[in-house]
């Protein structure tokens, strides 16, 4: 505001001096208080009012109020008339300030002294996934679910007791894991990547080995990745063994906050090899993508380039022409994650689920598989022992006595090992090569004979229950072991044991025995003697005839004279009517041919080899599966003996690793890196699988084989170290003490293709870097890599949830 020049200047008398600056009140004389002097021109007194705003003359007047009214005293009384003190700005300001602070103090007391305190001090809303902790009724305890020191009482108690308490000793990370123990291993929750320090050190050493190997190997170069400004980043200031959850996940930033978001620089703070962007300085892919070590051994390249074209040539024009075309979607389907597979689907890509054998493979492989498993393994087989040894074994059959020959049944040895783990019968595996002059071998053979005899008797008496417990102890899964035990016909074993080690019974009625012939009249006596024992025989029908084999009970078409040679691959008896009758007595005198008479699989007794054998029923046969599962847990020599059996070899030619189905890979390497096909398949150009999964040409030397050769242990030393490093990185466990190498699960030895290797051409980083840049599909570390890679699926934790203190 512009002020006009002063005109008609008026001189005012000088204001009285302020006697007490900062005093809350000043004397009211001359401030319009006419009562003071009767004139406003009076000057303020020297003393001034008190701090409470009281004029000091007020007391004087009160004392002199009763004085006489003489003229002098009246003048004196006028000069002693009290003023009305005027509040100063300093006083007003002080009162306003104090009043405001008192209001603020009362507001704080009102807030912190009431149940509003937790709501008031809560720094913000929780994220959506955690919002139910405070808002929902699923969790009780409120703040104490995550914070143990929230209550004032607990706070004071902790302070007095030196922060020692039961509930207070639990850190926030402990409370996080109390809920998230299904995803994060409890004991390694605060370790970097949820890995033990030993594992991290091992990985670091392996990465250095890889870089060292690649520096010698020009063809598989992995550029050093320290580049850009990332090398100036400081190292992590916290211990890698004590990384609290809140280091990366900070809550109370609102419902929409992404508490999993993390800067790339934070990811690299612990890593010695650092790089800038994915496209420019990320290490080149090496052996990516990989196959699961549990994947079915399937050579995509050979099927696409050799088998399918050959099938197409032989196929007629009108039949299965389309099916002869190699199509990825014929085996790999787009499906949805299954219920209860949350932890596995987090790692697995459901799009590449493989269809079962019956759908994808049976059309070509079912017939050959039937041939391969026709020669069934023996559950029990009496070894041919020298007479001097057989004499030492009680009631050792004469048919199993003589010049030792043949091999022991690996299946039987597996179960015998379960009977007496301290005895290893492997030195007697091949009886023809045993040094029988050795006392140890002779003693071992005696023990073998006795063990086999006891095993046979136990099987005869306890039957399926004995077999179930033995299979479970030997390592078979319970469902498979049950199916295995349930299929076993104990009666066959009883008859066999009776024939081998005791008096023969019910020979003429033994429907399974290949030894029984019509020209053995003594068997009738056995039937007569045991008619009170065999509950399956209906003696009411006929005293000397088996009801099931009675000619009168069977229709004409199924009379023994009509039984013809069994067909392969069809139902038994389909050709019985059409085939001309043969001499069934001669047929029964021959050795039982399981491939012919028991083509659908099952147990049978072979009296030629004095064994109980099993003929596989086809793919996914429970008995063969239990045998292989038991073998997987045995030692190498016994495992190789099982693997040498043709039926087992037919299985493990595809199922080289357990489990049987191509389960999602759970190696550390797969947990560290994630990939989902689904968003990529929305891109038209990528809907052709071969865009990324290129296969080598049929007429050229396989590039994949050359890469496999690089990974074989017998290559150059630096490549050996590379292979070793890659193998360990792929299979290392989060817990060193529970680490299991691939060989521990391997049934077959000497696999030509190392696990974790794909038969596709290696994918190059450039294929991804086209889109995965900072301005396009993103190139953050967490785009492709996980932090929490602790293996909880194979080591489930059972942590009782923490009950918060109310």
């Amino acid at each position: 505001m512009k002020r006009s020049p002063q005109r008609d200047h008026v001189e005012l008398p000088a204001a009285p001096r302020v006697q007490h600056p900062g005093h809350p009140f000043q004397c009211g004389r001359g401030y319009g208080d006419e009562s003071a002097f009767g004139s406003s021109a009076a000057s303020p007194c020297e003393q001034g009012p008190s701090a409470s705003g009281e004029c000091p003359l007020t007391r004087v007047c009160a004392k002199s109020g009763s004085a006489s009214a003489s003229p002098n005293r009246q003048r004196s009384a006028e000069s002693l008339t009290p003023c009305r003190p005027i509040p100063t700005w300093a006083g007003s300001r002080r009162r306003w300030t104090v009043g405001s602070l008192l209001v603020f103090a009362f507001a704080l007391i009102g807030i912190f002294g009431t149940p509003l305190a937790p709501e008031f001090v809560r720094p913000g809303n929780l994220s959506t996934s955690h919002a139910q902790i405070l808002k929902g009724d699923l969790t009780s305890g409120g703040c104490t679910v995550c914070h143990g020191n929230v209550s004032a009482d607990a706070w004071m108690a902790m302070r007095e007791s030196g922060h020692v308490g039961t509930e207070s000793t639990l850190t926030m990370s402990d409370r996080c894991v109390a809920c998230h123990h299904d995803r994060i291993p409890t004991e390694l929750a605060t370790s970097a990547h949820n890995l033990a320090s030993e594992t991290r050190i091992a990985i670091g050493k392996q990465r250095r080995d890889i870089l060292l190997a690649s520096s010698h190997n020009v063809g598989a170069s992995r550029p050093a990745s320290n580049s850009g400004g990332s090398i100036w980043l400081p190292p992590a200031a916290i211990s890698q063994d004590n990384v609290a959850c809140s280091v990366c996940h900070q809550e109370h930033h609102g419902a929409d906050a992404d508490i999993k978001a993390i800067a790339d620089t934070r990811c690299q703070s612990c890593h010695s090899q650092r790089f800038g962007s994915f496209a420019t300085s990320h290490p080149e892919f090496n052996n990516w993508p990989t196959t699961s070590q549990h994947a079915i051994a399937f050579d995509h390249s050979r099927h696409a380039n050799i088998h399918y074209p050959k099938t197409a040539e032989s196929a007629t024009a009108d039949s299965s022409a389309a099916a002869s075309q190699f199509d990825c979607r014929a085996c790999h389907i787009v499906d949805r994650p299954r219920a209860g597979m949350a932890s596995k689907t987090a790692l697995a890509d459901s799009i590449v689920s493989t269809l079962p054998f019956e759908v994808a493979c049976a059309s070509c492989h079912d017939e050959t598989l039937g041939v391969q498993i026709a020669n069934g393994p023996a559950l029990i087989e009496l070894p041919i022992l020298p007479p001097e040894i057989a004499q030492q074994i009680e009631s050792w059959p004469a048919d199993a006595t003589g010049s030792p020959d043949g091999k022991l049944s690996a299946w039987m040895l597996l179960l015998l090992r379960d009977q007496d783990p301290n005895v290893d019968f492997s030195p007697l595996a091949d009886l023809s090569r045993v040094d029988w002059q050795s006392p140890q071998n002779r003693e071992l053979a005696v023990r073998l004979g006795r063990a086999v005899r006891q095993f046979a008797i136990a099987l005869s008496l306890d039957g399926q229950s004995f077999l179930l417990s033995a299979a479970e102890r030997a390592g078979a899964d319970t469902p498979v072991a049950k199916a295995f035990a349930a299929s076993f016909p104990t009666q066959v074993m009883r008859d066999a044991a009776s024939d081998w080690f005791g008096k023969p019974i019910a020979k003429s009625n033994d429907r399974f025995s290949a030894r029984n012939t019509a020209d053995e009249p003594a068997s009738i006596d056995g039937v007569l003697r045991s008619r009170d024992e065999d509950v399956l025989v209906d003696w009411s029908a006929s005293q000397d005839e088996d009801l099931l084999l009675s000619d009168s009970a069977l229709p004409d078409a199924f009379t023994p004279s009509n039984i013809g040679p069994p067909n392969r691959g069809g139902h038994p008896g389909d050709n019985a009517i059409t085939q001309p009758p043969v001499n069934w007595e001669n047929e029964l005198s021959k050795r039982f041919d399981a491939a012919r008479s028991q083509s659908l699989g099952g147990w049978y007794r072979d009296d030629l080899t004095l064994s109980i054998r099993y003929h596989g029923s086809g793919h996914s046969d429970a008995v063969l599966r239990s045998l292989i599962e038991m073998a997987a847990t045995s030692h190498g020599e016994l495992r190789s003996m099982v693997g040498a059996q043709p039926a087992v070899a037919a299985c493990v030619s595809c199922h080289s690793q357990l489990p049987w189905r191509a389960a999602p890979s759970n190696t550390l390497r797969d947990r560290l890196t994630r990939f989902s096909h689904r968003p990529h398949l929305d891109i038209v150009a990528l809907q052709n699988c071969e865009h990324c999964h290129a296969m080598p040409a049929a007429d050229s030397p396989s590039e994949v084989e050359s890469s496999i050769a690089l990974l074989r242990p017998n290559s150059h030393s630096h490549v050996t170290s590379l292979q070793h490093a890659m193998g360990v990185v792929s299979n290392v466990s989060a817990k060193p003490e529970t680490d299991t190498s691939p060989a521990d699960h391997s049934v077959t030895q000497g696999d030509s293709t190392p696990h974790g290797h794909s038969d596709f051409l290696p994918l190059k980083k450039a294929a991804c870097a086209h889109c995965h840049t900072a301005n396009a599909a993103g190139d953050h570390c967490t785009t492709c890599h996980r932090y929490h890679v602790g293996d909880v699926s194979s080591h489930p934790t059972t942590v009782a949830p923490i009950q918060p203190v109310r």
């Binding site: 100063t88 700005w89 405001s100 602070l101 916290i238």
Partner: protein, 311 residues
């Protein structure tokens, strides 16, 4: 033209001209080579604050990369700044101690406040997400209070530069506590002027004007609107009325009107000074009170944060 010829002729190349321009600009901006001017002090202090903020930002980035809670560091830094800012009030109340001049304290207060604003932006993650106020009641109140105190500080910085200049334009400065006394003297002088009138016409005209308009203006207090936005409207209205009286008055009456007009201007100047001084004092009171509240709430927030921070 060779280099020697160019030097001899004094012709400068483009790069040399650019260098000279930059050097001159820096010289002029910083005031180097001259006496320690206000501009130079401001430039140097601003540079120091900018460098300090850049250093803190770098430190925060490094600590964030090193997996540390940067909020702890910036929180302690903010708390230190708050204490430093509060100290100026203590210094003002203890003038006897040799703690430096109030001018120096004010400069430190200003640039510490600017620095605190920068640190506050790094401290509150909500700001980085585009929200000025943090989540939660306590921290939302705290951040709102911080912005209030900062805003009042910025206003005070501007007001403390402009209001003294406006007060100086009015004339001599009067202590605020003495303004009521001067008002009383003016009212007394006006009453005396009216009382001393001899001419019946002047008594009738000026007395009527005094009764209807002048006495209300002289004895009343300025309105709240005037205190918030002081203006000369009321003064001009009264003065215009006094001027209007001149045609009804003789020479003596006109002189009385002139003196009354001078008293009205004196009164309006006092009201103007009162409004501006009141504004400054209310601002100081508001700024200091909210600063105390801010410090208390910051302490509560710090205690809670240190209790709940895990690492």
């Amino acid at each position: 033209m060779s280099l020697v010829e160019r030097r001899q002729t004094g012709v400068l190349s483009t790069s040399q001209k650019l260098k000279a321009l930059v050097a001159t600009s820096i010289h002029r901006l910083s005031g180097a080579g001259r006496a320690y001017s206000f501009r130079r002090r401001r430039v140097v202090a601003s540079l120091v604050v900018a460098v300090a903020l850049a250093a803190v930002a770098g430190l925060v980035s490094i600590m964030h990369s090193a997996l540390l809670h940067t909020g702890v560091m910036t929180g302690w830094m903010l708390m230190s700044c708050l204490v430093m800012l509060i100290m100026i009030g203590i210094r003002r109340r203890i003038p006897v101690l040799p703690l430096g001049t109030m001018s120096s304290w004010t400069q430190v207060h200003i640039y510490t406040g600017v620095f605190a604003i920068g640190v506050f932006i790094m401290h509150v993650p909500a700001i980085l997400h585009g929200r000025m106020i943090a989540n939660g009641y306590l921290e939302g109140s705290l951040s709102a209070l911080f912005w209030l105190v900062s805003g009042s500080g910025v206003y005070g910085l501007i007001a403390s530069r402009r209001l003294p200049w406006r007060l100086t334009n009015v004339g001599e400065q009067v202590r605020m506590d003495q303004i009521p006394w001067y008002r009383q003297q003016i009212a007394h002088a006006v009453a005396e002027e009216i009382h001393n009138l001899q001419n019946p016409a002047a008594i009738a005209v000026i007395g009527e004007f005094h009764r209807r308009y002048l006495s209300q203006y002289i004895t009343g207090k300025p309105s709240l609107f005037y205190l918030l936005m002081p203006s000369s409207v009321r003064r001009r209205r009264v003065l215009a009325g006094l001027v209007e009286l001149n045609r009804y008055l003789e020479e003596e009456g006109c002189r009385v009107c002139g003196r009354l007009a001078a008293l009205v201007r004196k009164r309006d100047d006092l009201d103007y000074q009162y409004a501006l001084q009141l504004r400054l004092r209310v601002w100081v009171m508001f700024h200091s009170t909210t600063s105390i509240v801010l410090l208390v709430m910051a302490i509560i927030h710090g205690v809670l944060a240190m209790r709940f921070v895990e690492s």
